[in-house]
């Protein structure tokens, strides 16, 4: 290993994982992290957990506004448009 290349500790590596997934790392940071991941099963497992977390979050459906409430809202908007058109 080059004297000028410091290895990341796991604790530092996990702090970079989300940015890594967002393509937010510089080329140098990315290479350092990938070098660490290649030799670290624990951080690779953490990366997997983060990917799973993001995928799970993507399946969340926020609580529905009631259907009746939505119907009322839309009726208000359309009535407003009609009123504007009539003026």
């Amino acid at each position: 290993m080059s004297l000028f290349t410091r290895d990341l500790a796991c604790r530092q590596a996990v702090a970079l994982i989300s940015d890594y997934l967002e393509n937010g790392l510089t080329g140098r940071e990315r290479r350092r992290l990938e070098r660490h991941l290649a030799g670290c099963g624990a951080c690779t497992a953490y990366l997997e957990q983060m990917k799973e977390t993001i995928a799970l979050t993507g399946t969340v459906t926020v609580e529905d506004v009631g259907q009746e409430a939505l119907d009322e809202l839309v009726e208000v908007y359309l009535r407003f448009l009609d009123d504007e058109a009539a003026e």
């Binding site: 967002e22 937010g24 099963g41 624990a42 799970l56 979050t57 809202l73 208000v76 448009l81």
Partner: protein
Amino acid sequence: MTDEELIAKFVAGDRTCLRELVGRHHQAVLQVARYYAGQRAEDVAQETWLAVCRGAKNFAGRSSFKTWLLTICANRARDMGYRESRHLSIDLSDSVAADRFSAGGAWLTAPVPFADRLADQDERAAILALVRRSLADLGEPTRTVVTLRDVEGLDTREVAEILHLSEGNVRVLLHRGRAAIRSTIEAEGGQS
């Protein structure tokens, strides 16, 4: 039918399409409205949909309908005098509990991917409930950032533009929010 097809049909006179679009996106509009206006979010959301009705013919498809809609929401909120008033404080505490690491920064106990737990349908449902609760428990602006990026699927740049944040701050907030949700899932399985 896609959002873009629905808005085109609405412009052509099919008013039923508005109901479908409101059903799909009202929660996302409310999330952005809450970010700017807190308890006055309903007012901002209403103004947003009215602006969409009036300006539907101006939708040119340069962005997705959802991005266009949420940008209108942010602009309406700002036009109404609301600003992202909260001071953006970035929590610098560790995203993984410090006691998970040795003094040299190596894992003491390796994390375990969730795949095996997710394969069990009952446990998957329980984990999804945890994710929903954990997302709701995130403080602002982290909750809005994670919702727009990971639930609504906007990209980092779009989230930054809609919330008037730098892309760097969006990434920091994403990291905090995702790490908190991950920790909650893991803690339920016996680690934290």
